[in-house]
């Protein structure tokens, strides 16, 4: 058998290559669909909480509010390590349930595995509705 014969493409291999190439076509069609779906589902969210929220830490699904007198701080409840929702205070610390990262009640990182503070969120007070309106990023 010479070299030319061994390199010859047989029918089965040819069909395999064509089949593989055709399998990529749906991928190109599916990705824009997924992208649109993600964009549709990932909109900025506005959360409303009452102006007379209690003193200290209050947990909401998307944010954590720390009120000290007239000073109000709002930060994301998503841990900066893997995005888990922080919903627990132990003493003066906020603890991530997933991997145990610890933050101060001001959202500053105290111990890892997370390396960054909790994200501070923008909010405004609406005197008409007597609510804080918090913008939750995507």
């Amino acid at each position: 058998m010479n070299e030319t014969e061994t390199r010859k493409l047989d029918r089965k291999s040819f069909l395999k290559i064509i089949g593989g190439a055709l399998a990529l076509v749906p991928l190109f069609l599916i990705f824009p669909l997924i992208k649109k779906r993600i964009m549709f589902m990932s909109k900025k969210k506005l959360v409303e909480i009452p102006l007379d929220i209690q003193e200290g830490i209050t947990f909401f699904p998307d944010c954590i509010v720390n009120r000290r007198g007239k000073e109000v701080k709002v930060f994301s409840s998503r841990c900066s390590h893997l995005g888990c929702r922080i919903n627990r205070q132990m003493g003066s610390e906020l603890v991530c349930p997933c991997h145990g990262s610890r933050y101060s009640t001001d959202g500053e990182i105290l111990s890892g595995p997370a390396a960054r503070d909790l994200e501070v969120l923008e909010y405004r007070a609406d005197e008409k509705t007597k609510k804080y309106i918090i913008t939750i990023p995507v």
Binding site: F31, I34, K35, R37, I38, M41, S42, H81, L82, G83, C84, R85, R88, M90, V95, P97, C98, H99, G100, G112, P113, A114, A115
Partner: protein, 297 residues
């Protein structure tokens, strides 16, 4: 020495009982059939509520959910044992390279089937597992957001996870099993063993949901070790890179020179042992808020 000891155990097992592979297939079928029954009362828009209603109002609901749970756990454990047994027998040399790659991909798919089932419980533990894996996949560069959506959907919406658990990933696993064992159904004796053991466990220890009053929230047992590893990693995306690397090496195992292949197998066994240690640490010594606790506390 450890390898020959394990080989002897597997040989004794296969001589006295249905083979590990056959039993594994039978447990898979029990999980599939009980899963199909659970589809009827399960509501993907209110997962925890629908499960609670099912379990509080019907003895059959408790039974079939437990049957699904225990058969799936047994399937996972036996799948792991079968992989070890297969490697000890140098099984990678006996299958085609295409099938070996599909079997290798089957390992993460099985874990995904298990994880998606865990997430579909909809309780605090399930939410935790979804957040960890969602965050982990989203952290991947370029395709992270896409992959997270494809496999886990969006937070608070379990539809995609449900479809994959009940159909896509289960079908893929079934097809791989059929191609591997060259039969559609498990044999009757294995089926009787699998059904009998699943029923006994379901009656003695019914599957429960996580109590909302329990401050200790952990992932499924097979991922507790991984959760411990992530606890020490500031850049969790590296863990995914390492797992992809391991899987790639596993896929390429038949191509590795036989002289080095046994070393690679020893390396994998060592990793599995270390993972087992991490699992024990996480399971026994982790309390609420990641505080240290002893098992009897």
């Amino acid at each position: 020495m450890a390898a020959s000891f394990l080989r002897k155990i597997f040989e004794q097992w296969n001589r006295r009982l249905p083979t590990i592979g056959a039993l594994d297939f039978a447990f898979f079928m029990v999980a599939v059939v009980s899963g199909v029954i659970l589809v009827l009362p399960y509501d993907v828009t209110a997962p925890k509520d629908s499960l609670q209603v099912m379990m509080l109002t019907s003895q059959g609901g408790v039974f079939f959910r437990s049957l699904h749970y225990w058969s799936a756990q047994a399937f996972t454990v036996l799948a792991l044992l079968h992989v070890i047994e297969f490697l000890l027998k140098k099984g990678e040399e006996k299958v085609s390279s295409g099938l070996w790659i599909r079997l290798s991909v089957g390992i993460p798919v099985i874990l995904y089937v298990m994880l998606s089932g865990f997430i579909l419980k909809g309780d605090a533990e399930a939410e935790l597992a979804r957040q960890i894996f969602g965050g982990l996949v989203e952290a991947l560069p370029l395709l992270g957001d896409y992959l997270s959506f494809i496999f886990l959907g969006r937070e608070g919406d379990l539809q995609i996870v449900y479809v994959h658990h009940a159909a896509t990933a289960t079908l893929f696993t079934w097809i791989i099993i059929i191609e591997h064992v060259k039969r559609f159904w498990p044999d009757l004796v294995s089926h009787i063993y699998a059904m009998g053991l699943s029923i006994v466990f379901s009656v003695i220890i019914p599957a429960s949901l996580h109590s909302s009053g329990d401050p200790v929230v952990k992932g499924p047992w097979y991922f507790i070790g991984f959760q411990e590893i992530l606890h020490w990693m500031t850049r969790p995306v590296l863990s995914v890179a390492v797992l992809v690397l391991f899987l790639s090496v596993f896929m390429g195992l038949p191509k590795i020179n036989e002289k080095y292949r046994s070393r690679v197998k020893i390396f994998f066994s060592s990793m599995l042992f270390i993972y087992f240690i991490f699992t024990i640490i996480g399971w026994a010594f982790r309390g609420a808020g990641w505080q240290f606790q002893v098992p009897w506390q």
